[in-house]
C-alpha cells in the first residue's frame, strides 16, 4: 500500500487550517427554527376549533392528562373530550402524516434523481385507493379498510419493483414507468368498483379519495406515529448516502455505496411511511412534492438537512391546512382540497421565478 501512503502526502503538503468553509451552524439553526415553528403551530392548532374553548382551559386539560391528575379536577367533560380525544390526536396525526409524506418525497426525489417525483410515484396512492375501495364495497371480506389500503399500497410498489427489475438491476426509468402503469391499472379498477357500488359506498369512496383527518383517534396515532417516526429516523441516518445515490448509480458504486442495496432500503422505508399514512388518512396531494422543494430553497440540497427540515415543514404545513379545513366553514372541507389549492399556485410561482435553477 505504498502508493496510498504517498498519495496521503499529496494532501498533507498543502494541509489546510480548519476553516468555517463547511460550517453547518446556519443549517442547524434553521432546523431549530423549524422545530420551534412546529411546536408553535401545534400549540395554536389545539386552541382553534368550532367549539370555543379558552386557551387556559385547553392547556390545563392537556396538562392534567399528561400529569395524570385525577379526572375529578377537570371542570368539564365535554371540553375534555373535545381537546383530549378529538383535537389532540388529530393534531398529532396531521404532523405525523406531514412528516411521512415530506420525508418520503425528499427520499424518492433523491433516489430517482428527479426533483419532480412525489411519494405516490410508484403507484402507492392508486394501490391504496383500490384497497380502500375494495374494503368499502366488499366490507364483508376485508378485515378493515385501513389494512386493505395499506396492503394494496405496498403491493403496488412491490409489483412496480418486480416489473422494473431486469438483470438484477432496477433502472430508474423503468421503475417510474412501472409505477405509471400500475397507477393507471389500479385507477381503472377503482373506477370499476365505483361503477358497481351503491350510493352510500360510492360516497364513502369519494370521501376517502379526497383524504382527511375527520376520524383521527388515539388508536390511529398509536399505530401510525411510531412507525413513521422510526422510519424517519432511519431515513435521516442515511442522508449522506442519499446524497451519493443522487449522483447516479455508477458514481455511487465508485464511492463505495451499493446503489441497489441502499435504494432498496430507502425506497422501502419511504414506501412504508407513505402507505401507512395514506391508508389512515387517504390521499393528500402536493405535500410530498412541495416540501422537499421549499426546503432545498431554504438550506440547499444536502439530504442530511433536507430530510428533517422538509419533514418538520411538512408537519407544520399539513397542520395549518387541516386547521383551516376544520375551521374555515361550519362543515369540514377535505384537507386534500386545501393542500392542492395552496400547492398549485406555489408551484407556478416556483416555475415562473426560478424555473431553470430549480428544475435543472
Amino acid at each position: 500500500m505504498a502508493g496510498y501512503l504517498k498519495d496521503a502526502s499529496l494532501l498533507e503538503d498543502i494541509a489546510c487550517e480548519e476553516s468555517n468553509e463547511f460550517s453547518i451552524h446556519g443549517k442547524l439553526m434553521i432546523l431549530l427554527a423549524l422545530f420551534v415553528l412546529l411546536v408553535l403551530t401545534s400549540s395554536a392548532a389545539v386552541v382553534f376549533g368550532a367549539y370555543k374553548i379558552s386557551i387556559t382551559d385547553v392547556y390545563s386539560i392537556i396538562l392534567s392528562h399528561l400529569l395524570h391528575l385525577s379526572e375529578a379536577q377537570n371542570m368539564d367533560s365535554l371540553k375534555d373530550i373535545i381537546v383530549w380525544d378529538l383535537r389532540l390526536p388529530r393534531v398529532l396525526l396531521a404532523i405525523t402524516v406531514g412528516f411521512a409524506l415530506s420525508a418520503a418525497g425528499a427520499t424518492f426525489q433523491g433516489c430517482f434523481r428527479n426533483p419532480l417525483v412525489e411519494p405516490y410515484i410508484l403507484g402507492i396512492s392508486s394501490g391504496a385507493a383500490f384497497g380502500a375501495a375494495m374494503g368499502i364495497v366488499f366490507h364483508q371480506f376485508f378485515f378493515s379498510i385501513q389494512l386493505s389500503a395499506f396492503l394494496f399500497g405496498s403491493l403496488a410498489v412491490i409489483l412496480a419493483y418486480g416489473i422494473a427489475r431486469v438483470n438484477k438491476e432496477t433502472p430508474t426509468v423503468t421503475l417510474i414507468l412501472a409505477g405509471v402503469i400500475l397507477g393507471s391499472l389500479f385507477s381503472a379498477a377503482v373506477s370499476i368498483l365505483k361503477y358497481i357500488s351503491n350510493d352510500s359506498a360510492l360516497r364513502e369512496i369519494v370521501f376517502w379519495l379526497m383524504g382527511g383527518f375527520y376520524f383521527a383517534s388515539w388508536s390511529d396515532v398509536a399505530l401510525v406515529t411510531p412507525v413513521v417516526m422510526l422510519s424517519f429516523l432511519a431515513m435521516w441516518s442515511l442522508g449522506w448516502k442519499l446524497n451519493i445515490l443522487s449522483m447516479g448509480d455508477d458514481e455511487a458504486r465508485g464511492l463505495g455505496v451499493n446503489p441497489e442495496k441502499y435504494k432498496l432500503i430507502l425506497i422501502g422505508l419511504a414506501t412504508l411511511m407513505t402507505s401507512i399514512a395514506v391508508s389512515t388518512v387517504g390521499i393528500i396531494a402536493w405535500v410530498g412534492l412541495m416540501m422537499p422543494h421549499a426546503t432545498r430553497m431554504i438550506l440547499g440540497p444536502d439530504h442530511r438537512f433536507v430530510i428533517p427540515a422538509s419533514a418538520m415543514l411538512g408537519g407544520s404545513y399539513l397542520l395549518i391546512c387541516d386547521t383551516m379545513a376544520r375551521t374555515l366553514t361550519s362543515s369540514e372541507i377535505p384537507v386534500g382540497i386545501i393542500t392542492s389549492l395552496l400547492g398549485a399556485p406555489y408551484l407556478v410561482y416556483l416555475l415562473r421565478t426560478r424555473g431553470k435553477s430549480v428544475f435543472e
Binding site: L10, L11, C16, R253, L255, G256, P301
Partner: protein, 263 residues
C-alpha cells in the same frame, strides 16, 4: 498495481472484450486509446467492477477484485466519470467531500479530517474560489476538475478517468493532463481513456491501444503511437511527425498537402 489477465466480456452473444491482458505499474500514467465502440468503456467498467467479467482475472494491488465488496473497492480505486449535471445543486466543496465517503466512520457525516482532506484536494486543483458555488452551474471544464478533486480526496492508490478531456477547450485539456501527471508522480496509478493520440503520446508513461474488442499494442507511447498502428485503427487518416522533442499526429493531407493549399 493493476493486472488484467485474459479478460472476456460479452453482452448477450455479442463479444465486447476478447483476451484482454495488460498491466500498469505503480505511479504510472497509462492511457487507454482506441476508436469509438472498441470496448474501452466496457473494459473500464469491468476493472471498476461495475460490470462482471465472464472470464479472466483483474487484480488491483494484488487482490482479485472478485473478492472485494463495493465498499472495499472504493478504498482502492477512484472513478472520475465524464462530466455531467447532477439533478441537485450541490456545492463544489460538498461534491469533493463526497470523495471521503468510503472512509467515513460514522453513519451520519464527516469529521474534521475529512473536511481538511477535501479542502486540500480543492487547493491542489486550484478550486478554492469556486468552492461555494453550485456544482451544476459550472462550466464543463470546471466540473471535470471538481470530479478529479473528489477522486484525489478519496485517497486511493488507483484512479480511473473516463475521457476526462472530452468536452474541454485546449487549455483546459492540457491543464487536466498536467494535473494527472502531477498526481501520478505522487505515486498514484492512473488509467485514463482518451480519444486524442497527441495527448496520450505527450503525457502518458504507457499506452494501451485497443481496436475491435482486443488490445492492438501496448507499451511506451513512442513505440505504440506510430503510423502503422494508427493506420490500422483509423485507415489512412494519420501521419506521425517529429517536431524537435515532441511527436505530432497530423491528418495525412495536412502533413503532405502543403503544396495543394498554395494553389
Amino acid at each position: 498495481m493493476l493486472h488484467v489477465k485474459d479478460l472476456q466480456f460479452q453482452y448477450g452473444m455479442q463479444p465486447v472484450l476478447k483476451d484482454i491482458s495488460f498491466q500498469v505499474g505503480q505511479g504510472q500514467l497509462c492511457g487507454l486509446f482506441g476508436p469509438n465502440g472498441c470496448g474501452k468503456t466496457t473494459l473500464f467498467k469491468c476493472c471498476l467492477k461495475f460490470l462482471k467479467n465472464q472470464g479472466g482475472q483483474i487484480r488491483v494491488d494484488g487482490q482479485d477484485i472478485k473478492d472485494l465488496r463495493i465498499e472495499e473497492m472504493a478504498k482502492l480505486v477512484a472513478y472520475v466519470p465524464q462530466e455531467h449535471k447532477p439533478p441537485f445543486p450541490y456545492l463544489v466543496k460538498d461534491v469533493v467531500l463526497m470523495g471521503r465517503t468510503p472512509r467515513l466512520r460514522s453513519l451520519f457525516g464527516t469529521n474534521k479530517e475529512d473536511r481538511q482532506k477535501a479542502l486540500g484536494a480543492l487547493k491542489l486543483l486550484g478550486l478554492q474560489e469556486i468552492a461555494d458555488k453550485p456544482y451544476n452551474q459550472l462550466s464543463g471544464g470546471q466540473r471535470q476538475l471538481v470530479l478529479i478533486a473528489r477522486a484525489v480526496a478519496q485517497e486511493t492508490p488507483l484512479m480511473f478517468l473516463d475521457e476526462p478531456t472530452s468536452a474541454l477547450d485546449f487549455s483546459n485539456q492540457i491543464r487536466i493532463w498536467r494535473i494527472m501527471k502531477q498526481i501520478a508522480e505522487s505515486g498514484v496509478t492512473i488509467l485514463a481513456c482518451s480519444h486524442d493520440p497527441n495527448h496520450v503520446s505527450w503525457y502518458c508513461d504507457r499506452v494501451v491501444v485497443m481496436n475491435h474488442n482486443h488490445i492492438l499494442r501496448e507499451g511506451p507511447p513512442q513505440e505504440v503511437i506510430t503510423e502503422p498502428v494508427l493506420d490500422e485503427i483509423y485507415r489512412n487518416v494519420c501521419a506521425v511527425r517529429n517536431l524537435d522533442e515532441a511527436r505530432m499526429v497530423l491528418p495525412k493531407e495536412v502533413a503532405h498537402g502543403n503544396g495543394e493549399r498554395k494553389k
